[in-house]
């Protein structure tokens, strides 16, 4: 059990670092989704399945989706500005 706990801790640390090191927002949304999933697994390992369920649905699905949709809107606006310049 202790091996599992150490492994999941290292995984969370690695995934969290990956989110910070990813600079492109689009990629970051995907990496953050993976981080949300890993965090959910950590809650499961520590026997908090209720929290794990919320974490996976919100952290791995809802939050990245909001970021993606916001990015899509921003890109549409930037696209229009690019067209005006030409």
């Amino acid at each position: 059990m202790i091996v599992l706990e150490v492994a999941v801790f290292l995984l969370v640390a690695a995934a969290g670092t990956a989110v910070v090191l990813t600079r492109d927002p689009l990629n970051q949304a995907i990496v953050a989704s993976f981080y949300g999933l890993v965090l959910g697994i950590m809650f499961l390992v520590y026997q908090a399945p209720d929290v794990a369920l919320s974490q996976i649905t919100v952290g791995a699905v809802a939050l990245p989706l909001m970021i993606l949709l916001a990015l899509a809107k921003v890109r549409a606006l930037e696209g229009s500005r690019g067209r005006d310049d030409r």
Binding site: D50, S54, T57, L69, A70, A76
Partner: protein, 254 residues
């Protein structure tokens, strides 16, 4: 502020914050040691007192039900704020989303995604209902199940069916679900007052532990929260999708 000065201010602030953090860490109990009495007491008495086999649910929806009501209204207020912020502005126009437009954000969905997405909608809805209705028996509850239900709507959109999504979830239905869910929590609370006990007191028959109809008000509150969360999240999703797919600023790429 020059970059040099800014760096110095940051280093000073980081040193203080780091020292405080380390100081706090030294005062924590050892790894795996639990000192608080409440968890132990609840583990001993909660199932007998409330007949809910998921002790977490009896804590969140009964022993500290008022806190959870506050949490529910945080989400309610957040969805309300998003709906107000993302409404169509005066200089924006709404256009019917044309799924075929080349630079629209409607994804060019492959047949595989379409089939898998639509095939998953049914099981996801069923799973969501299960998680909401069994919150007092097993891990889960209104919040988790509500978000699972909302992801069913997301699957419909991912299968390339934005128009279908709008037709399946008209705003009136979403608004009603969210409001009825939010009001339902308070109504269950007032039930306690009406019965001569305190607000949110568990006044319904408790039944036997493990039965679907047990634990008194806890499954009822779970149902209300499930409605509120599912309605709220789909509303949130719709508002974002509408901003991305339907609402156009003057000059914006269409």
């Amino acid at each position: 502020m020059t970059p040099r000065l800014r760096r110095r201010v940051f280093l000073a602030a980081a040193a203080v914050a780091g020292a405080l953090l380390l100081w706090g860490l030294t005062g924590l109990p050892d790894y795996g040691v639990y000192n608080g009495p409440y968890g132990d007491v609840l583990n001993r008495v909660a199932v007998a007192e409330r007949k809910a086999t998921n002790v977490v649910a009896s804590v969140t929806f009964d022993y500290r039900g008022v806190d959870t009501m506050g949490e529910e209204y945080i989400l309610f207020a957040a969805v309300l704020g998003v709906a107000i912020l993302l409404r169509a502005q005066r200089d924006e126009t709404e256009q019917p989303p044309d799924e075929d437009a080349a630079d629209r954000r409607a994804p060019g969905t492959s047949n595989a995604v379409r089939v898998i997405g639509l095939a998953l909608v049914g099981p996801v809805v069923l799973f969501g209902i299960y998680v909401v209705s069994h919150g007092h028996l097993s891990p889960g509850g209104g919040f988790q199940g509500g978000v699972v239900l909302a992801t069913a709507a997301l699957l419909v959109f991912l299968s390339g069916e934005y128009v279908t999504l709008r037709r399946l979830s008209p705003e009136v239905v979403l608004d009603t679900a969210e409001s009825v869910g939010a009001a339902g929590y308070v109504a269950v609370g007032l039930l306690g007052v009406a019965a001569g006990a305190t607000f949110l007191a568990n006044v319904l028959p408790l039944g036997h532990p493990g039965a679907l109809l047990s634990a008194g008000t806890i499954p009822v509150i779970n149902l209300a929260v499930g409605l509120e969360v599912a309605g709220g999240f789909v509303l949130l999703l719709s508002e974002f999708l509408e901003q991305t797919l339907v609402i156009r600023r003057p000059g914006e790429v269409t």
